[in-house]
């Protein structure tokens, strides 16, 4: 295998793995804000208990998200040096802004969120929860801005030629608000909210089914379900907006998403199907003229098909793009149906009576995850063969100084490390969930245990300065 395919596999693998975690952080963060907000409003212990429980799970998710995220920041330079030189002026700015405005905010307050329960007042803790959540949402803004610029570049000009060509910013705000930014950020946010909300409903449904922590789980479930119901609808809206942008700015991607080849024909909207690239046919269940209707408001108007693009300017993996896109949409629809039906039952007062529905919720945690993943596959594979749409080809963007052997080595290393990481993540997540929201059986962590172990040596309030004074004689 050559450097290009290895680097692409490595980037795809590391980013896909990373992307399990940030959406969960963002979504769970939002749910925690509501939980803790309810605690401050009502003063009921149960809300504090659930917040504390989810903060622990948040910490686990966040930790892996950070560890795998730092890899991404440096992988542009290690594996895609030409790309980094080409886009640094534009893309680097967004990435630096992410670091300083978003990541610093979330990591700074994370310490208080996790360890600050006994150190700060409930209000300051709540403030920290909000800051961590906002930080993770700001993070998404800058990262998606950077990626959106790759999809629909604006606010730049090209300086130099050939290998020396560079994109330079001409208008910062035009770069930030490039044509796809707002739509894609809101789409990513909604996807993240769904990921977090469905994690909470999943665990809560499982507790209810097992007859454990019933009161707490029902309350958590309702908070998360509210978030899920609103954002699943929001997702339909932002998804439609994003598709509009693709139709307008990336017609080759749109054609691949719907498996549309012939430019003279109106385009159908498939519910599901199969694309045969060789025969240039797409078979499946479709709404005739549906895509034409969505794009032009007219079912007979032709849509530009894949055939009208030169072979080297359209995505190669048409069926892959088609399938991932349709899987995302099907899941989105299923989530809307599931959450609206549950809200209806809630209104009827029978939400927790149907065991089958709770079992559906237990497993539904996977659905937003899958949808988030395949949605990005559609966006990124559909952009091929470009890394920056219409400007820089993926095959031209590699590091010249890196050999296939080196990438093979790092790819194997990442595969092993991430497999281990994922196994540990699942194991510990499962353990935390089995352990439940209450701590009194947990000897290892209870203050009483520590007292017996002699760790609580001082009952005095903490000193004003970190430097120890006057305690030395007794210690040595």
């Amino acid at each position: 295998m050559d450097v290009e395919i290895l680097s692409r596999i490595q980037f795809a693998f590391t980013i896909a793995f990373h992307y399990i975690y940030p959406p969960l952080s963002i979504g769970l963060g939002l749910v925690m804000v509501f939980m803790e907000g309810m605690y401050l409003r009502t003063g009921q212990e149960i809300y504090q208990q659930m917040t504390r429980f989810w903060v622990k799970i948040f910490a686990l998710i966040f930790g892996i998200g950070v560890a795998t995220g730092i890899v991404m920041e440096f992988e542009f330079g290690t594996n895609w040096a030409v790309y980094s030189r080409y886009v640094g002026d534009v893309f680097g700015s967004a990435l630096a802004a992410e670091g300083i405005f978003a990541f610093a905010l979330e990591s700074g307050f994370l310490g208080i969120l996790i360890f600050g329960w006994n150190r700060v007042s409930p209000r300051v803790h709540f403030f920290s929860t909000i800051m961590v959540t906002l930080g993770s949402m700001f993070s998404a803004i800058w990262i998606v801005v950077a990626n959106s610029w790759q999809q629909t570049p604006t606010g730049y000009h090209i300086v130099g030629e050939g290998m020396k060509a560079r994109a330079e910013i001409t208008d910062f705000w035009a770069m930030v608000f490039n044509p796809s930014s707002v739509e894609r950020i809101s789409h990513v946010w909604s996807g993240s909210f769904l990921a977090g909300a469905f994690l909470v409903t999943s665990v809560s449904a499982w507790y209810i089914l097992k007859g454990k922590y019933i009161e707490l789980s029902k309350a958590s479930f309702k908070i998360a379900l509210s978030v899920a119901a609103v954002t699943s609808l929001l997702q339909l809206f932002t998804g439609h907006k994003s598709a509009d942008v693709v139709a307008h700015y990336q017609p080759a991607k749109l054609a691949a998403m719907e498996g549309h080849f012939d430019s003279l024909k109106a385009a159908d909207l498939y519910l599901f199907g199969w694309v045969n690239k060789k025969e240039q046919t797409t078979t499946g269940i479709a709404i005739p003229g549906g895509l034409s209707y969505f794009v032009h408001g007219d079912i007979d108007k032709p849509i530009r098909g894949l055939n009208s693009f030169p072979e080297n300017e359209r995505p190669g993996a048409v069926n892959f793009v088609f399938q991932t896109y349709h899987l995302m949409i099907s899941i989105g629809m299923a989530l809307i149906a599931l959450s609206l039906y549950s809200v209806f039952l809630w209104w009827r007062g029978t939400l927790f009576d149907k065991r089958w529905l709770l079992w559906v919720f237990v497993w539904a945690v996977l659905l937003p995850q899958i949808a988030n993943q395949v949605g990005w596959y559609t966006a990124e594979v559909g952009r091929q063969p470009w890394v920056v749409y219409g400007l820089l080809r993926t095959s031209d963007a590699l590091s010249e100084a890196v050999t296939a052997n080196q990438v093979m080595f790092s790819l194997i290393m990442f595969t092993l490390v991430y497999m281990l990481l994922f196994a540990l993540f699942i194991y510990l997540l499962n353990k935390k969930i089995t352990h439940g929201p209450y701590d009194h059986h947990d000897d290892e962590h209870s203050p009483r245990h520590m007292e017996m172990a002699g760790s609580f040596t001082s009952e005095h309030p903490t000193e004003a300065t970190p430097a120890p004074r006057g305690k030395d004689s007794e210690s040595i």
């Binding site: 910490a59 560890a67 700015s93 670091g99 610093a104 010249e400 353990k431 040596t457 120890p468």
Partner: protein, 344 residues
């Protein structure tokens, strides 16, 4: 070229990135150093206390690396691209060590089994030590330079990196961070662990002074381009003087048990060391020894003036904010470590 306060934008940005990486070295330096000392603590409570001394802050400290990486990408894309692709293997190992370190801190406390905790203790200690070493190792290689062609693409192989100077700088950074971390831990602990750390502090200080002296002589004798600036402008001799005084002050404050002042002095040592290296390199960032014309300088590798101007505004808004909540978090967790139910 656009200037601000008489200094051109690329130089400003060089200063900003230098400041961010210095901040990173001071902050992550102490938690990497604390990690590298981890296996010297034998009792479970000692290890937990040491881990929780950095618990609430290590993640925030690592942010400075993320900001530094992003700032380098934005300000000097050529350097970011050439440096990272040239140092492919060291950086990959660096990244994996970062992952192992993060998950060791995170996972250690999640199971009570002895083997589990021991495993993560070892992984935490080794990865912390490796990171502290690699930071110096990469800095050492950057300081002596790497072969670049006219397109600033690295032309050499992995074996070039493994040279005595880079290894020596790596050992020095490891010893510096171990001392820095030991001083931090001594401020955060009490009783027997505190007593043990007062001994470790002295030993790590000796370790640092020895590696520092050897590395300094090595540089003076064999790496002329790293001393010519100070050689040519004697006024700058003040920097090595400050450095030596700061090191002397560390030992003095340790003897007086004023550990906060010792900690500040070791922060000064880290800062002055990086200032000297930056001064000696400037305006070059990546030096190409065989063909100096191919070197990457702040001028031939910088982003456009427009971007640098935007990024300076971003930094002017962002850095005070980051400094503010970093201070707030450190203030919240000030004083000795108290283990409670939220601890690792």
């Amino acid at each position: 070229m656009e200037t601000f306060a008489g200094i051109d934008f690329p130089t400003w940005w060089f200063l900003v990135i230098g400041a961010v990486f210095t901040g990173y070295a001071i902050l992550d330096g102490f938690d990497l150093g604390a990690g590298a000392l981890h296996l010297f603590f034998n009792k479970e409570t000692s290890r937990r206390t040491a881990l929780n001394a950095i618990g609430p802050v290590w993640d925030g400290n690592e942010v400075w690396l993320v900001i530094g990486g992003g700032a380098l990408f934005a300000g000097f894309p050529e350097v970011y691209a050439s440096l990272l692709s040239a140092f492919y293997m060291p950086f990959m190992i660096f990244l994996v060590a970062l992952i192992f370190r993060a998950v060791s801190i995170e996972f250690r406390s999640k199971e009570p089994m002895l083997w589990w905790r021991k495993m993560w203790d070892i992984s935490y200690c080794l990865s912390s030590g490796l990171l502290a070493f690699l930071l110096g190792f990469i800095l050492g290689n950057v300081a002596i330079g790497i072969p670049l062609d006219k397109d600033h693409i690295y032309r050499g192989d992995f074996a070039d990196f493994i040279n005595p100077y880079a290894i020596m700088v790596g050992i020095t950074s490891l010893s510096l961070f171990m001392m820095h971390g030991a001083i931090y831990l001594v401020m955060k602990t009490e009783d027997r662990l505190y007593a043990k750390l007062t001994i470790i502090v002295r030993r790590t200080t000796i370790f640092f002074v020895i590696s520092f002296v050897i590395t300094s002589f090595y540089t003076l004798l064999y790496i002329p381009h790293l001393v010519d600036q100070i050689h040519n402008s004697p006024g700058m001799f003040i920097l090595p003087v400050i450095m030596v005084l700061a090191i002397a002050n560390i030992t003095r404050q340790i003897a007086k048990r004023k550990y906060l002042l010792a900690f500040l002095s070791s922060a000064v040592v880290i800062s002055v060391a990086l200032i000297i290296v930056s001064l000696e390199l400037y305006p070059t960032i990546i030096y190409s020894p065989q063909t100096p014309a191919n070197s990457l300088t702040v001028y031939n590798s910088a982003s456009s003036s427009k971007t640098l101007g935007i990024m300076l505004t971003v930094a002017a808004i962002g850095v005070p904010l980051v400094a503010a909540y970093t201070t707030f978090v450190f203030w919240t967790f000030k004083g000795k470590v108290k283990l409670d139910e939220t601890s690792y």
